[in-house]
């Protein structure tokens, strides 16, 4: 595991919103091809940490290095780094003024990363993999929740990211739609995508995660394999939390 390339290296990250200190010295390493699942109580700082990785949230202290680039350094061209980090949001955040395929091609065309033909061709391939090949021209308002999230994943993949960040990608979905989205993510993992996923889908985590990280009150309390975290967590608060979600 450790001979693999280090993709994300976060060290002693601090972040406050006003007086509310949300991240209190978080350190985490993620290597190439690794799938890391983050769990933890509401308000513990999972989203904030995830958003700090692509600098949607600026950090106060510490450093975050992605692909050997220090994203917390003001001199870094953050737009360049973000192009290599795909992000999937809980609320999809699809572009409401664009149809399905334009959602995917918008970024590469705006950034002149591809020719229109290349962008569309790649978008079509991605639509096939996420099962939306027949919805190319639909307005996004006509998609179901599950379809929206699969489109959001395709949109992120169009940019050929090195790393994918998922912030509770299935928690806004009706239960019957969750499976399809998780399947897409599972395929991604199989293809060796490096991923950090905030999710409380235990079954998925057990199957796919290389490591599970337990967040609590702005720090990482436990970081281990899914078997250990789910079956015999060392930390008391982790144990309480896991019991709670298993019995929920």
């Amino acid at each position: 595991m450790n001979d693999k390339v280090l993709k994300i290296h976060a060290e002693n990250v601090y972040k406050s919103f006003g007086k509310n200190e949300v991240l209190k010295g978080v350190s985490l390493d993620v290597h190439e091809n690794e799938v890391v699942v983050m769990i933890g109580p509401s308000g513990s700082g999972k989203s904030t940490f995830l958003r700090a990785i692509n600098q949607l949230e600026k950090i106060d202290k510490g450093s975050i290095i992605v692909d050997n680039v220090d994203v917390s350094d003001p001199k870094t061209n953050i737009n360049k780094v973000r192009q290599r980090i795909g992000m999937v949001f809980q609320n999809f955040n699809l572009f409401n003024n664009k149809n399905v395929i334009d959602n995917i091609t918008y970024a590469p065309l705006t950034l002149k990363k591809m020719t229109p033909d290349e962008a569309v061709e790649k978008a079509r391939r991605l639509l096939v993999t996420v099962g939306l090949a027949d919805r190319e021209k639909s307005p996004v308002s006509q998609l179901s929740g599950g379809q929206k999230q699969r489109l959001a994943i395709a949109r992120a993949l169009e940019m050929d990211p090195d790393v994918m960040l998922f912030d509770e990608p299935t928690s806004a979905l009706d239960p019957e739609m969750v499976g399809d989205v998780l399947n897409v993510m599972r395929d991604l993992a199989k293809q060796g995508m490096t991923m950090i996923i905030v999710t409380h889908e235990m079954g998925f985590a057990r199957q796919v995660a290389d490591r599970v990280v337990f967040f609590d009150q702005g720090v990482i309390l436990e970081d281990d394999s899914p078997e250990i975290i789910f079956n015999q967590p060392k930390n008391v608060r982790a144990k309480e939390f896991i019991n709670k979600i298993i019995n929920a």
Partner: protein
């Protein structure tokens, strides 16, 4: 959609119904002989050929006078039907009327439809330029802008010249706006029929005709339907010949265009000094606006006589009394004649002429109020007109008699405040008050009346325009010596023998329909100005507002600060203050004069633009922040994400606000009337001043606004749908 369509048609019908004149026919003629009575159509306004005399329904002009004389000689009677030129021509073509005389040029096309008399007037197209223009010939027009009036023969002729002389053209629907465009230097020249142009210049337009070369020379004729009314045509030709032989023809033409000799002197007028004279829009009997938009009254007649005798020309600038005094005080206008009382305070800023009128202050009360003695005013409210001598006088006795004061900007509103009983009395200059009461204002002058005499004089900015002041004094002296002065005074105030003679308000049809049809031109021109201001203000303010809104969501703090400051200032300033500041204050700072239209437009753009900017920013802010995050997470820079994702969604949100703002802009144009822009509201005020029919006139004005607003809303929604939102 269908429903809306019918709604619109209904509205159109209402508008057309409002605008088309009702039986506005003028009966002229005696002892109708059945076979020799004709209906003759004419253009409702085509001076000097066909137009209405000030304050009178009767049509005059070269055409009308010729027709009258010919009818007399040839012993027939007729009825004149004035209407739009196109309608007038069509009424004859389809047999509804017997003949048309309307400065109508003889052309081969027309000879196919009509039989035509011998030409009664030689005419052609000339071009006119601003007085100080160096343009001498067609060649000088190369690359310049030329103003044309849509659909006229002169315009067609200019278009023929266009290729050869390579100028650009711009179109106007109304001669006056076209002339003004040239006067203000926006266009280099305009093309017009020679007599019309010459008459315009003679009556004060600041234009000149650089070369008297007639283009497209031809003649005006009297037309009847082809193959019909040959008797009438014969009579016309015979009568015309007689008039030409006995010299009557020359007399008539000379009446309007000056004799051959005088038209030569008029040519020289280009070098005469020219002044801008400010006056009150309504201060009867000193300033009265007649139906045709021209000003009359004691002041006006004196000014006109003096300008003629002393050899200067002037442009009249009617505006509120306060604006009038201020624009002269700050040099924006050259002089003021406005029933202006000489006071010591005013002597500090003005140089006054000799007094041309002696006036006293008087008070008037509601007929039902039991007020006879000035002591009865204690604790009552008294209405005053801002900035007048009578107001100063009332204030000086306020303490002594213990009354309360309320101010108005215009006399009519002040009178009505007393009529309806909100105030018990008003103070006014004596001749003005008496004139108003004579013309139907329901007030009475108590026996015991305070007396304080004042002198009216013409004024210029202190230390400036000494030549003008001198000319005025000399002219005034001559007027008094020749007895003309007494004539003018008697015309408006009546001699003692006939004090009941009404001037300026002869029997008019004051019903709603009567008001509408007899003042159609005024309403249309007011509406036209309102629309012009609205359309430009909407377009420019929307663009400016969009720019502001985009500045408001900029990533740059400094740019956002500029946005906030602009919004703070221009949303905070009352529109009226802004208008006065721009029109009266700005020229003081910059020394550059600014037209009322430009000042009004700038005012509206700044004010409406600020509101627009605020809701544009609001619209952008209302877009779900997740949209921006998603774009940024993909590595799209802020500005590009703004343009590609946020703005399209924000614009959709703000469409109702835009429509709302358009309506507000339309309504706000009425405030621009305060600086003297004659739009719809101002037109209403002028009409009320003349007719005293506040309810009917403002009712009409209100209805027109509602109709326009309905159309505007409908149009906006239509465009919204068309844009696919």
């Amino acid at each position: 959609m269908r429903k809306k369509y019918y709604f619109f048609i209904t509205l159109l019908t209402i508008i057309v119904g409002l605008i088309i004149p009702f039986s506005n026919n003028t009966n002229i003629g005696v002892a109708a002989d059945e076979k020799s009575h004709y209906t003759i159509t004419t253009d409702s306004t085509y001076p000097p050929f066909d137009f209405q005399k000030e304050n009178q329904k009767e049509y005059v002009g070269i055409d009308m006078d010729l027709l009258k004389e010919i009818a007399k000689i040839e012993n027939f009677t007729y009825r004149v039907k004035p209407m739009s030129f196109n309608m007038a021509a069509q009424a004859v073509a389809n047999g509804q009327a017997d003949g048309i005389i309307a400065g109508m040029a003889i052309t081969p096309e027309r000879e196919q439809i009509y039989d035509v008399s011998t030409p009664y007037f030689k005419t052609g197209v000339v071009f006119a330029v601003a007085k100080n223009s160096k343009i001498k010939s067609y060649e000088d027009l190369k690359g310049k802008k030329v103003a044309l009036k849509t659909g006229t023969a002169a315009a067609n002729y200019a278009l023929e010249l266009q290729k050869k002389y390579d100028f650009n053209v711009t179109y106007f629907n109304d001669s006056n706006i076209m002339y003004n465009d040239v006067i203000e230097g926006n266009s280099a020249a305009c093309f017009e029929d020679q007599p019309v142009m010459q008459y315009g210049i003679q009556t004060g337009l600041k234009l000149k005709i650089p070369e008297q070369k007639l283009g497209n020379a031809g003649g005006y004729g009297f037309f009847v339907k082809k193959g019909q009314n040959s008797q009438l045509l014969k009579k016309f030709n015979r009568g015309l010949k007689k008039l030409q032989n006995n010299g009557k023809y020359d007399q008539i033409v000379g009446r309007y265009l000056g004799s051959a000799k005088s038209s030569v002197t008029k040519e020289k007028k280009g070098n005469l000094p020219h002044y801008n004279i400010a006056t009150d829009v309504t201060f009867p009997p000193f300033e009265i606006q007649a139906k045709n938009g021209k000003y009359t009254g004691i002041d006006m007649d004196i000014l006109e006589s003096i300008s003629k005798s002393q050899g200067f020309t002037y442009t009249l600038k009617p505006m509120s009394f306060n604006s009038a005094t201020q624009t002269v005080a700050n040099g924006q206008n050259d002089g003021i004649i406005s029933g202006l009382t000489v006071t010591d305070e005013r002597r500090k800023v003005f140089d006054f002429s000799n007094s041309y009128f002696r006036s006293g202050f008087i008070w008037a009360v509601n007929k039902d109020a039991k007020i006879n003695n000035i002591k009865d005013l204690k604790n009552q409210t008294v209405a005053l007109k801002t900035g007048t001598g009578s107001a100063d006088y009332a204030k000086s006795i306020q303490k002594k008699y213990g009354f309360k004061i309320k101010y108005f900007n215009d006399s009519n509103t002040m009178y009505n405040d007393v009529v309806v009983g909100n105030s018990v009395a008003c103070f006014e200059d004596e001749p003005v008050m008496r004139y108003a009461i004579k013309n139907g204002i329901n007030l009475t002058i108590p026996k015991q009346t305070p007396a304080n005499t004042g002198e009216y004089a013409f004024a210029v900015q202190k230390g400036k325009n000494a030549a003008l002041l001198k000319a005025f004094n000399i002219g005034l002296k001559e007027l008094k010596e020749s007895g003309k002065y007494d004539q003018i005074k008697a015309k408006y105030l009546g001699s003692k023998a006939d004090t009941n003679k009404e001037v300026g308000n002869t029997k008019e049809d004051n019903s709603v329909w009567g008001l509408l049809s007899s003042n159609r031109e005024m309403f249309l021109s007011g509406l036209g100005n309102t629309m012009l201001l609205t359309v430009f203000a909407i377009l420019i303010a929307s663009v400016w507002g969009l720019i502001l809104g985009i500045m408001g969501v900029s990533e740059n703090r400094f740019v956002r600060g500029v946005y906030s400051t602009i919004i703070y200032i221009f949303r905070g300033l009352p529109l009226l203050v802004l208008a006065f500041f721009i029109y009266i204050g700005l020229p003081n700072l910059t020394g550059v004069k600014i037209s009322t239209f430009a000042a009004g437009l700038l005012t509206l753009v700044l004010n409406e633009g600020a509101y627009t900017g605020a809701f544009v920013k609001g619209g952008f802010d209302a877009v779900d922040p997740g949209q921006m995050e998603a774009a940024r997470a993909l590595g799209v820079p802020y500005n590009q994400a703004m343009r590609g994702i946020i703005m399209p969604q924000g614009l959709k949100i703000m469409i109702p606000s835009f429509i709302n703002q358009f309506i507000i802009t339309l309504k706000d144009t009425s405030i621009i009337s305060a600086i003297g822009f004659v739009e719809l509201t101002q037109t209403g005020q002028l009409l009320v001043a003349r007719t005293q029919k506040g309810f009917a006139v403002y009712g009409i004005v209100a209805l027109i606004y509602l109709i326009v607003i309905t159309v505007l809303t409908w149009l906006s929604k239509f465009i919204e749908k068309r844009l696919g939102f």
